[in-house]
């Protein structure tokens, strides 16, 4: 902190500017209350040049955008009278003072007309100590309008804008298609996905109030004198500290959030959460707090016992389980026979000439198509799926979509141009259409064109797979943010793809009486390689999560307890399958027993992949702020759904979809 302040003091400071109460009489943006109190007005007299991360606070300086632009709030062209409207603003939270009275949340929900299940600002708490030496620290948190807004970068529809006015990160619900990716990447749970509306909305910094010189509603409503607001790095009157973190707050390095804290009162060495997230915070050597697993957390009442909980494997993200697996399998299933035939592998060249090549390609096409369909249906507003391509500059979701869609398109063309060479198609053509297609274009031409599309499909698939992996490398979701995602995704593309294509190829060749042994070996080797890659990733991941001091460790703890039996079954299947495949490759040859063996290995592979991917989604614990006992407590929300309490809208929990 000190060195940061010194670092700043060498910079130029805009001093001597006295901010007067803005003349806002007659503003059509916001009506200031009669006899409005000083606490409600912004009061930034001095403004620093740069924030502690070295970024300019004056956003006109930073961006070169013109001053005095209208924000067109509700299409109102009025330009606010706030003299600091081009400075980055942020919240200041005196954690020492918060009484957890919900006034900020209520003021926010009232102003923004949010229903009970949506809140742009939420108060949770951490607590520690032993009666009566007990302390609770309430934390009120909304959007921090970050320097590096990961929501903006992640959003595939480009619904987010970081404005040069106040540095506000605003989101347009009408652009959003409800994928919820911003809710994944935000470490503070700021964007709110409304499953009823099918879209996200979030804190708008009350820019209408800011324009007339008033602090946001939540700040003006604060009853504990805890919440404040102003130009970033300015410390309010009567406050001394401006820390970037307090216990329970995620690592500020992820996004450089525009919030500063005062928390001078010493807290107990260990602070616990009251919600069901099995995480607690322990004082570290430097006096900060580190995240550790709370093995006694609420939803793990039975301590370290292992359970199955197979029913809980299905979640809101189940469509994504299927999308990722099917897209990966599809890519592998297409790539194996195509590349093999292109490189002149005898049995695969033979297969390409069989009638079954096109059906296999169509199967791949259907798999990726179904996957994309599922992932679109997973959106809040599926009809807006095309908006997923808006933000290719920043969003991995967008690039993943582009890659996979391009793969699917190229594969489609590949199939189309492979048809004239297909004997079944030829016979259909000659019997039904009198050979019109074969006269139109020669099979030699179409094969070449099909090959071009095949070669185009492959890099698209690789780009798609890579960004599919990037989608999950989210700092706010430590359980995902590990290189095992890439070994798993590429590994599954190899193993599942090789299994599916191998099944078709070997069956086809066997039925035609052609030698399939090289195809069997290639498919087998690829299955083994894919499974090995996945397994290595998983071993490393398990170890990393076990040693971690972040929410990933808690996810792993749940993996080993709540889903313990399921997890160990999956691991056993993986290990056994590795041995089985290696054994088959080494000893089994290509006889009937080998074929049965490979079929078994493939089935085991499918089971372990589905279970593994479901675990991947269901286990992730984001770095969100601590919840309260009911509000923002995942355990209670689930309970309210299970028992039917959620059917009453005033409970603030969305019931299960029927």
């Amino acid at each position: 902190m000190n060195e940061l302040v010194e670092g700043l003091s060498s910079g130029k400071q805009n001093t001597g500017i006295v901010v007067e109460t803005p003349k806002s009489d007659g503003s059509t943006l916001w009506e200031i209350r009669t006899e409005e109190q000083p606490y409600a007005f912004l009061s930034d007299n001095e403004i620093k040049e740069e924030n502690r991360y070295g970024q300019k606070i004056d956003l006109v300086d930073l961006t070169g955008l013109p001053e005095d632009r209208s924000m067109f709030i509700n299409e109102n062209p009025e330009v606010g009278c706030n003299p600091n409207r081009n400075k980055q603003h942020g919240f200041f939270f005196t954690a020492d003072n918060c009484i957890g009275c919900h006034a900020c949340e209520a003021a926010c929900s009232e102003k923004n007309e949010n229903p009970a299940h949506i809140a742009f600002r939420s108060v949770g708490y951490v607590e520690g100590g032993s009666f009566p030496d007990y302390k609770r620290m309430n934390i009120s948190m909304a959007c921090n309008h970050c320097d590096d807004p990961v929501c903006l970068k992640g959003c595939p529809t480009a619904a987010y804008t970081k404005h040069a006015e106040y540095g506000a990160v605003l989101q347009d619900p009408d652009t959003c298609f409800g994928c919820g990716y911003c809710t994944w990447v935000c470490p503070y749970n700021a964007p709110q996905l409304d499953p009823i509306q099918g879209q996200v909305s979030k804190c708008n910094m009350c820019v209408d109030r800011l324009e007339v010189g008033l602090k946001p509603s939540c700040v003006s409503a604060c009853v504990g004198n805890a919440l404040d607001f102003g130009v970033i790095e300015n410390v309010p009157e009567n406050r001394d500290q401006a820390k970037t973190s307090i216990p329970g707050f995620p690592d500020p390095e992820i996004t450089h959030p525009n919030i500063r804290f005062q928390q001078i009162t010493q807290m107990p060495d260990e602070m616990k959460r009251t919600d069901s997230t099995p995480v607690k915070y322990q004082k570290d050597e430097k006096g900060g707090y580190k995240t550790v697993v709370n093995q006694a957390a609420s939803n793990n009442s039975k301590g370290q016992q292992r359970h199955w909980n197979l029913g809980k494997l299905s979640s809101r993200e189940t469509p994504l389980v299927l999308f990722t697996l099917m897209a990966q399998a599809s890519i592998g299933a297409f790539a194996l026979p195509f590349i093999g035939s292109q490189f002149g592998v005898e049995s695969l060249v033979a297969f390409r000439d069989t009638v079954a090549y096109v059906p296999l390609a169509i199967l791949s096409f259907l798999m990726v198509g179904l996957g994309l369909f599922m992932s679109s249906m997973h959106l809040g507003k599926p009809k807006r799926f095309y908006r997923g391509f808006n933000n290719w500059r920043h969003s991995p979701v967008c690039r993943e979509g582009l890659g996979i869609a391009a793969f699917m398109g190229a594969l489609g063309m590949h199939i189309l141009f492979s048809l004239p060479d297909n004997s079944l198609f030829q016979s259909l053509d000659s019997t039904l259409f009198g050979g019109i297609f074969s006269q139109l274009i020669s099979a030699n031409w179409t094969i070449s064109i099909a090959n071009v599309f095949g070669w185009l499909a492959l890099p698209s698939a690789l780009v798609g797979l890579y960004y599919m992996n990037r989608c999950y490398r989210i700092k706010a979701r430590p359980f995902w943010n590990h290189w095992q995602v890439i070994t798993s995704f590429f590994g599954n593309a190899l193993s599942l793809g090789a299994f599916i294509s191998g099944l078709v190829i070997v069956t086809t060749l066997a039925l035609l009486g052609v030698s399939y042994s090289s195809a069997l070996i290639i498919a087998g080797v690829l299955m083994l390689v894919g499974l090995t890659a996945e397994s290595i990733g998983l071993v490393a991941h398990g170890k990393a999560m076990n040693d971690a001091t972040h929410e990933g460790a808690a996810s792993h703890f749940i993996q080993c307890t709540t889903f313990g039996n399921t997890y160990y079954l999956r691991n056993t299947l993986l290990g056994f399958n590795l041995l089985l495949m290696a054994g088959l490759l080494a000893f089994a040859g290509d006889g009937t027993i080998a074929l049965i063996g490979w079929a078994c290995a493939g089935l085991l592979l499918v089971v372990s992949s589905v279970v593994g991917r479901a675990l991947f989604y269901v286990l992730v614990i984001p770095t969100t702020m601590p919840g309260a006992f009911f509000w923002k407590n995942k355990g209670f929300e689930q309970h309210a759904r299970d028992i039917g309490l959620a059917e009453m809208p005033q409970v603030g929990v969305i019931p299960n979809a029927h």
Binding site: R33, T34, E35, E36, L59, T63, L65, F72, I73, N74, I99, G100, C101, H102, A103, E105, A106, A107, S109, E110, K111, N112, N114, A116, H117, E127, G128, S130, F131, P132, Y134, K135, R136, A158, A159, T161, K162, H163, A164, D172, T175, N204, C206, S220, V223, G224, T274, A297, S301, F630, W631, N633, H639, D642, I643, L645, M648, Q650, V651, G652
Partner: protein, 741 residues
């Protein structure tokens, strides 16, 4: 390119389109915050805001106030009168005339058959003062039952009783402004951040400007206790021991304000004799009250040595068998140290309901309007004359208190009852006993703005009442500030203002044709003004008017005609100002003008934790709910913060019993059982559990509610329970069933 986008995205923020702001006072707690309701061009309430110029809240509101305008059309509002012959039949809709006729006829039947007092009237602290005054006229002057009282017995009766015993008169002598002056602040059983957030904010503002010691006496580590300089985690029910022991230290170290004691008090000899006894020596007292002797001495010394010191208290004191005694004893502490009637030195009761003060002043529940007494012949004659009736119509002694009315139904002395804006099925101790009592009634009228109020299941007639700004009138807050609510919108459905209901019913009684019942609230207020004048009276509102109250955003009484004349010179920007404090001259409303020092000895008559029932059961409020949750339970953005009952329990005790966080347990007491969800926290000691009191069929299934001998207020906070395991699925089903509105 974080900032740049070629096509701007629209910024849409809900716009309220307010064309008119209507002035009102919050209808929840006694803080008395001013709220402006924003109406659109269709006259619909679309938003609200705290009044920034109001001295009480200065623009701030708590969660309940911020969302209060959501309740006008919330689920369960009563839209038409309902009637039935038997409580087990289903209701039939009725016209107002039918419902009022039936009610008047039944009241008369019962009174004829069993005597005038066999019909009881139980009101509330939630109506407008003018409505209380009118109800008093109706109950005392027309119906003539002496069994007429309010549910304020559950919240502030002890404060009233204690004030009367010490100062000869009710009325909190201090104000919020005292936080700005005090040099030592002590809170007894008062959790301001949760119960009175805006008063807490006023205190916090004072503490941000100037540091002064804050001492909090509370058996739980509330947020206020956590923020206190000194927290005294007292053994429940032993406040008198702590205060007596503090007095012991003060007298033995000569820290008392002897000149104040000599000039303005009686009874110091007896008090000294009592507190100097060995029982209250900190060495002995520490074992009873649970606060070590060093702490007792420290606290006594800083309190007595402070230039000015103030005490506040809420239900931690009032709701105990020593409630009235506790209040009197806090008054003792402040009288002995000369801390009454001076800036920063006061005994300030923080009341519960928005208009508990209004009912104390004007409802005639405990006597006659304007702090007059039935026991006083002159008062009887004066009021009878003013109303134009025979003074002999009045009883010569106050009848039963609210908490004695219900047992009188149990014993068959009372046969019929009218409940007005109160929900005893949730709020009274010992729900099982209450259910039996309610079943015994021959005739029950429930008047409430919600027809799903739990008590309505026993009624024969239901009157749908208007709520808050659907009608007009005043509230008095906890610092004696009279504040106004203007009519902002039409009544819901065919519901009617309580004033209208009282006026209509009065026409059906003989005296109702004699006594004048003004049609408007302002008309009733003008009558009250006339009644408030008199030599030596503190409760004088004669200088006030609706317009003046709105202009000042509330005026503290006394505010006389002379004050009004003085304020007539004010410029339009200046605001009329009433009296900040009472007893500034050291003159009290007793025969000799001196305050009484009341000797309070401690008798331990509470149900104590024992082998069978090893836990103290404590109860209290949460910030997002009000009372029996009839209103806040319907407002999603309030209710979601605690949609089902829960229990704070110490994790060490839980570990021993195998009780787990976020699971259900069954609690059993000597009265009954309740199912709650467990929240493990070190906020409570190992031998105590805490349950918010807002939920129907919950904490009051367990409570004993032993009555205070003076105030008849129940001791909700001291009884004992044991904890039993419960089938989680069955408990969950029960939880849902009991939460269904």
């Amino acid at each position: 390119m974080l900032f740049g986008r070629k096509n701007r995205k629209p910024i849409v923020i809900p716009k309220k389109e307010v064309v008119e702001w209507k002035y009102s006072t919050c209808n929840y707690c006694s803080t008395g915050c001013s709220i402006e309701l924003g109406l659109n061009d269709q006259g619909k309430v679309v938003t609200s805001r705290g009044h920034a110029g109001a001295d009480v809240n200065r623009g701030k509101l708590c969660i309940k106030g911020l969302l209060e305008h959501d309740l006008f059309d919330s689920a369960g509002r009563g839209s038409q009168p309902l009637m039935r012959d038997k409580a087990y039949e289903s209701f039939e809709p009725a016209s107002w005339d039918q419902a009022l006729d039936r009610t008047a006829e039944k009241i008369k039947d019962i009174q004829e058959k069993y005597g005038r007092d066999a019909f009881a009237v139980v009101s509330t602290g939630q109506l407008m003062t003018e409505e209380f005054y009118t109800l008093g006229k109706l109950a005392r002057g027309c119906i003539g039952s002496n069994n007429y009282d309010g549910n304020t017995t559950l919240c502030m009766a002890s404060a009233v009783s204690g004030y009367k015993r010490s100062f000869g008169s009710d009325g909190p002598p201090g104000c919020y402004e005292d936080f700005e002056y005090t040099e030592c602040f002590m809170a007894f059983g008062s959790n301001l951040p949760e119960q009175h957030p805006i008063i807490y904010w006023r205190l916090k503002e004072a503490r941000e400007k100037r540091s002064f010691p804050m001492i909090v006496v509370d058996p739980r580590v509330t947020m206020l206790a956590q923020f206190a300089d000194i927290h005294l985690p007292i053994t429940p029910g032993t406040d008198c021991v702590l205060i007596n022991s503090m007095l012991h230290v003060i007298f033995s170290e000569g820290l008392q304000d002897q000149s104040y004691i000599d000039a303005h008090t009686n009874g110091s000899k007896e008090l000294i004799e009592l507190v100097m006894s060995d029982t209250y020596d900190p060495k002995v007292a520490q074992h009873v009250c649970g606060i070590d002797e060093d702490r007792i001495r420290t606290v006594a010394r800083i309190y007595a040595r402070a230039g000015s010191a103030m005490s506040i208290w809420t239900m931690g004191i009032n709701q105990s068998t020593h409630g009235s005694d506790g209040v009197a004893n806090i008054n003792n502490l402040n009288l002995v140290t000369g801390n009454i009637g001076k800036p920063g030195g006061t005994s300030l009761s923080i009341t519960g309901q928005c208009n508990a003060m209004g009912t104390r002043e004007w409802s005639s529940c405990s006597g006659l309007p304007g702090y007059r007494y039935l026991e006083n012949e002159k008062d009887r004659e004066y009021i009878a004359d003013f109303w134009g009736i025979d003074p002999e119509f009045f009883p010569k002694k106050r009848g039963l208190a609210q908490t004695d009315i219900f047992p009188a139904i149990e014993t068959g002395e009372i046969k019929g009852m009218w409940l007005i804006a109160t929900n005893p099925m949730t709020s009274m101790a010992d729900t099982a006993r209450m259910r039996k009592i309610m079943e015994k009634l021959d005739f029950l009228v429930v008047q409430d703005c919600y027809e799903d109020v739990e008590t309505n299941q026993f009624s024969h007639v239901y009157f749908p009442a208007a709520v808050w700004a659907e009608k007009e009138g005043c509230h008095t807050n906890t610092e004696r500030r009279v504040n106004l609510t203007r009519t902002a919108l039409q009544c819901y459905g065919d519901s009617k203002p309580d004033l209208w209901i009282f006026n209509q019913l009065s026409k059906r009684f003989d005296n109702g044709k004699v006594i004048n019942f003004p049609e408007s609230a302002e008309g009733a207020f003008e009558e009250m003004k006339k009644l408030s004048v008199g030599a030596g009276r503190t409760l004088d509102i004669s200088g006030m008017s609706y317009d003046k109250i709105e202009r000042a955003q509330g005026i503290q009484w006394p505010y006389t005609e002379a004050d009004a004349k003085r304020d007539a010179q004010l410029s339009p920007e200046e605001k009329p100002k009433g009296a900040s404090r009472l007893y500034t001259d050291g003159k009290f409303q007793t025969a000799d003008g001196k305050a009484n020092l009341i000797s309070v000895d401690f008798i331990n008559n509470n149900e104590q934790p024992c082998q069978d029932f090893p836990f103290w059961l404590n109860s209290g409020r949460v910030v997002e709910h009000f009372h029996t949750r009839t209103r806040t339970g319907k407002v999603g953005n309030c209710n979601k913060f605690s949609p089902t009952p829960y229990m704070e329990m110490n994790p060490d005790a839980a570990a021993e019993l195998g009780v787990v966080h976020q699971q259900y347990v069954r609690l059993a007491s000597r009265r009954g059982d309740a199912v709650v969800m467990v929240q493990l926290t070190h906020r409570v000691p190992r031998n105590m559990v805490f349950i918010p009191f807002h939920y129907h069929d919950c904490v009051n299934r367990l409570t004993l509610g032993l009555l205070d001998p003076y105030s008849r207020q129940p001791a909700f906070k001291q009884c004992s329970v044991r904890i039993e395991p419960v089938d989680q699925d069955e408990a969950a089903a029960l939880n849902v069933q009991r939460r269904a509105f």
